[in-house]
Amino acid sequence: MNTHSPDERHLGEDHILQAVIDDADLPALQQQHLAECSRCQADRERLENELAHLGKMAQRYTPQPLKRIRVADEKTRSPFFIRGFAFSAAAVAAVFIVVWATFLIRSQQPGRIGNLAQDMVEAERLMTEINVLVENALPQAYLDIVGETNLNLDEDFMDFLIPTDGGAPRISAFAKKGSILC
C-alpha cells in the first residue's frame, strides 16, 4: 500500500487514495507534505472533485419519484406485502383450479371407459343374438320339433327357399340357355 512515487518529494498514487479516504491515516511525514505541497493537494482535489461529481451526476440522472410516501396507520401495509398477498392468493387459486380440474378429469375418465366397455358388451350380446337368429330364425320350440338345431343349409337351398329379387334367377337362366324346364 505504501509504495513511493518516483519523485520522493510528492505523494504517490496510493497515498493520494489514502488521503481521499481519510488523510488522518497517512503517515505523519506524508501528512505534513500534503499540507504544504500545492501539487499533491491539487492531485487529491482532482480526484475528490471527480468523485463528488459522480455523486452529483447520479443524483441528476435519477428520475423524480411520483408517489408520495404515506405511513398512515397500523392498517397500512407495504406495497410489497400487498403484492405478496396477491401472489399468494393467486397461487392458492391456481392450485385449487388444477386440483379440481384433475379431480374432475379423473372422475370422468374411468366412467367414460366403463360406459364404453359396457356399450361394447351390449353390442357384442346383440350381435350374438342376431347371429343366432340368422342361423336359426325359428324359435327354440320349433327347432325342438324339427329335431335339429343346426340344419346346415347351403346357399343353393336358401336361394331355392327365398329367391332373390328379379324372379327365379337360376331357373330363368337355364331357360334362356334353352334348357328344358321340368
Binding site: M1, E13, D14, L17, Q18, V20, I21, D22, D25, L47, N49, E50, L51, A52, H53, L54, G55, M57, A58, Q59, Y61, T62, P63, P65, L66, K67, I69, R70, V71, T76, R77, S78, P79, F80, F81, R83
Partner: protein
C-alpha cells in the same frame, strides 16, 4: 433531528412524517442507484418507511437513526435483488426492465442529448460495478453516491472502520483505472 426521532419513537406520527420528509429523497436515491427502476424504487422506499415506523419504538440510540434507516433500505434492496434473481430464472431476459419510450422526433433536442448522457452514465456505473467485489461496490456507492461518511458506512454494514477503508481503497484504485468513466466525468465538469 434527534429530538424528532425521539418524538417519533414515542408514537408521535407527525414527528415520523417529518422524518419521512427529511430522508425520503436519500432513501429513494439509494434504492434507485441499486435497482434502476423508478416504480420499484418508490415501492421499496414506501416499504422501508413502513418497516421503520413499525419498529422505531425499538430504536435505542436516536442519533443513529439515519444509519439505522439506511441499513433497512440496504437490506430491502438486497432482498429485492435476491428475489429478482430467482424470478429471472423463470422469465425471459427482456422482462422486468423499464423501457424508456423512444421518440425519434426529439433525437436532436437537448432532452434527447440528456437521455443519451444519462444512459451513458449508468452504463459506466454498471461497468465499474462489474469490476468491484460486492463489498467494494457497496462501500463505494455508500461513500461517493450516497455521501455517507466512513463511520456511518461501518455502522450500516456492521463492519469495522478499517475494513470499510480497505474496501474503499481497493474500489478507488479500480476507479482510478476506469479511464472511460473518469473522462466522462471530466467532460461533464468542464
Amino acid at each position: 433531528m434527534t429530538d424528532t426521532v425521539m418524538q417519533a419513537r414515542e408514537g408521535n406520527r407527525p414527528a415520523f412524517e417529518r422524518l419521512i420528509d427529511h430522508y425520503q429523497g436519500d432513501i429513494y436515491r439509494l434504492i434507485f442507484y441499486r435497482i434502476r427502476s423508478r416504480m420499484d424504487a418508490e415501492d421499496l422506499t414506501q416499504d422501508v418507511f413502513v418497516r421503520a415506523y413499525r419498529s422505531i419504538s425499538r430504536i435505542r440510540e436516536p442519533h443513529k437513526f439515519r444509519s439505522w434507516l439506511f441499513r433497512i433500505a440496504i437490506n430491502r434492496v438486497n432482498d429485492y435483488l435476491r428475489k429478482k434473481r430467482v424470478r429471472s430464472i423463470f422469465k425471459s431476459s427482456d422482462e422486468g426492465t423499464e423501457v424508456q419510450p423512444a421518440d425519434t422526433d426529439f433525437q436532436d433536442t437537448p432532452e434527447a442529448l440528456d437521455q443519451v448522457l444519462k444512459e451513458d452514465f449508468w452504463r459506466h456505473i454498471e461497468r465499474i460495478a462489474a469490476k468491484l467485489s460486492k463489498m467494494e461496490h457497496e462501500v463505494f456507492m455508500l461513500r461517493f453516491m450516497d455521501n455517507l461518511n466512513i463511520n456511518e458506512i461501518a455502522r450500516i454494514l456492521k463492519k469495522s472502520e478499517s475494513t470499510v477503508k480497505t474496501h474503499l481503497y481497493r474500489a478507488l484504485a479500480k476507479f482510478k483505472k476506469e479511464k472511460g468513466l473518469r473522462q466522462f466525468l471530466q467532460e461533464d465538469l468542464t
